[in-house]
């Protein structure tokens, strides 16, 4: 479904991604692990074709179609959604406005406002609260809910558990697992190893801009030593 081949991305002269290759298949939850500064967010931003970083080499194939010449909104129109790091909500918009901005409340097909609010009852209780009046967990739920409103086939989630209380992280894992069961493909960028392993079927490890380890979760569960070595966990 999504194939990243030999991707080289730069911030100015800084060469951040050095020939990254990975694949996300339809309906699959894939985790991208790595320590801070290894290029995980850079990879997500490259896939979304945001202005920075610059992609100078490699290809981004979505169902066989090249994405590298598209603008971010054209990528989103291919039904690839982003849940950005830090949630990045709109402070002046309410919960419902965040959702209706992307699709009218009267929409009947795909992800609708009501379907998102059913999935996140906490948001339904706060539907008239503004983005800046929500707790961290609620913001994350809204960021995920907002991404669903474009009826994505692939969601790129950039460290969704960052800064959340353990109980909220567990709740989020349940949500990601539930979304995975609906047939949605998810590329999950995580630093929280156990959170990633609980929802993903495959993992990639990024180290200084290169994929240094790829394995299925079954393989990791049988032998965690290689993964721990790459992540610097002893």
């Amino acid at each position: 479904m999504l194939e990243v081949r030999n991707l080289h991305s730069f911030y100015g002269d800084a060469h951040v991604l050095h020939g990254v290759s990975l694949e996300v298949k339809a309906g699959e939850v894939v985790a991208l692990l790595g320590r801070n500064g290894m290029g995980k967010t850079t990879l997500i931003r490259s896939i979304m074709r945001l202005a920075q970083p610059q992609m100078r080499e490699g290809s981004l194939l979505w169902k066989g179609e090249e994405l590298k010449h598209l603008t971010p909104h054209e990528v989103a129109k291919k039904r690839i959604a982003l849940v950005p790091q830090g949630r990045r909500l709109f402070p002046s918009l309410t919960v419902v406005e965040h959702l209706t901005m992307l699709k009218p409340a009267s929409a009947k097909h795909g992800w609708t406002v009501n379907r998102v609010l059913e999935m996140f009852p906490r948001l339904a209780e706060r539907k008239n609260h503004r983005g800046n009046q929500l707790s961290g967990g609620e913001r994350q739920m809204l960021a995920v809910g907002r991404s669903l409103m474009i009826d994505p086939e692939l969601v790129l989630m950039d460290e969704p558990s960052e800064g959340l209380a353990p109980v909220m992280v567990q709740h989020l894992e349940t949500i990601i697992a539930d979304l995975g069961k609906t047939g949605l493909a998810i590329l999950l960028v995580e630093q929280n190893l156990y959170s990633a392993l609980s929802v993903a079927s495959r993992i990639y490890v990024l180290e200084t801009g290169k994929v240094v380890h790829a394995a299925s979760v079954e393989e990791v569960k049988k032998d965690q030593a290689p993964l721990m070595r790459f992540l610097g966990v002893h």
């Binding site: 945001l50 909104h73 950005p84």
Partner: protein
Amino acid sequence: MMRSATALALRSPLSFLALLAVIFGLLPLLVSSYQTSVANEILIFALLAMSIDVLAGYAGRTSLGHGAIFGISTYVVIYWTTLMGGSPWVGCILGIAAATLTAAVFALLAVRVSGVYFLLLTLALGMIVWGVCLRWTSVTGGENGIRGAGRPDVIADPIAFYYMTLATVLFFTLVIWRFVHSPFGLTLRGIRDSESRMRSLGYGTATHMFLAFTITGLFAGVAGALYALFNDFVSPSTVQLAQSVEGLLMAIIGGVGTLFGSFIGAAAIILLENFVSQYTARWPMVLGLMFICTMIFAPQGVLGALRKLMGWKQ
């Protein structure tokens, strides 16, 4: 009781429009014809201020070109009726179309920039329009301007024209309110909050800004056409920078992003111009003082401050 009725009116668009309709509707029965014509001017400029407020308050782009767009509509209506001998109604349609087209041209150039660059670019475009109106004397009459051919019979009576203005402005206020609260209007607020975030959600923000600018140009064009019928005269002063600045000040004094605050801002400035100037030639000083006080004590404008004070939802 009265206070709660006012509160309700300022919170709900339909009740606000009903309140406006009652207040402005009764005015001709209560005040002199001169004061009615001042109220007429307030309504026209409130519409111009609202068109600026949509961009400044909802899309986060402050335009100093809408006065010129407004003035182009006025020029076209008066040129069409006086020099071409055409129908004023057709002239109004042509004026609004010309204003919308001008706004589209402005938008093509301006939507790719933001902040102070947007402000300066729209200012420069407005200055070009002013320069053309001043120098293209064969068409615009230069500094002498063009005198209109008078209003059509059906609205020749100032009171009949006043009610037509009131109905038009109330209708477009409702249209603008619907516009800013539509999903499209929400995307403008999203662009104001973060353009890059909107792009990553799948929006071509330049297209949205282009449409928003053009549509607000249409609203300014409607105000300009009404002004042509009201003033029956047009000169370069109608398209000058001061017109845009005044419209912006009206939006700011009323409350940027409140929409209905434009009526308060327009009333404050036009009443000052018309009544304080009777007592002192230094009325612009009073206007300046009022603006400074607003910025210090109610930077969110009069309606914004009222909302904050009363804890009303925006």
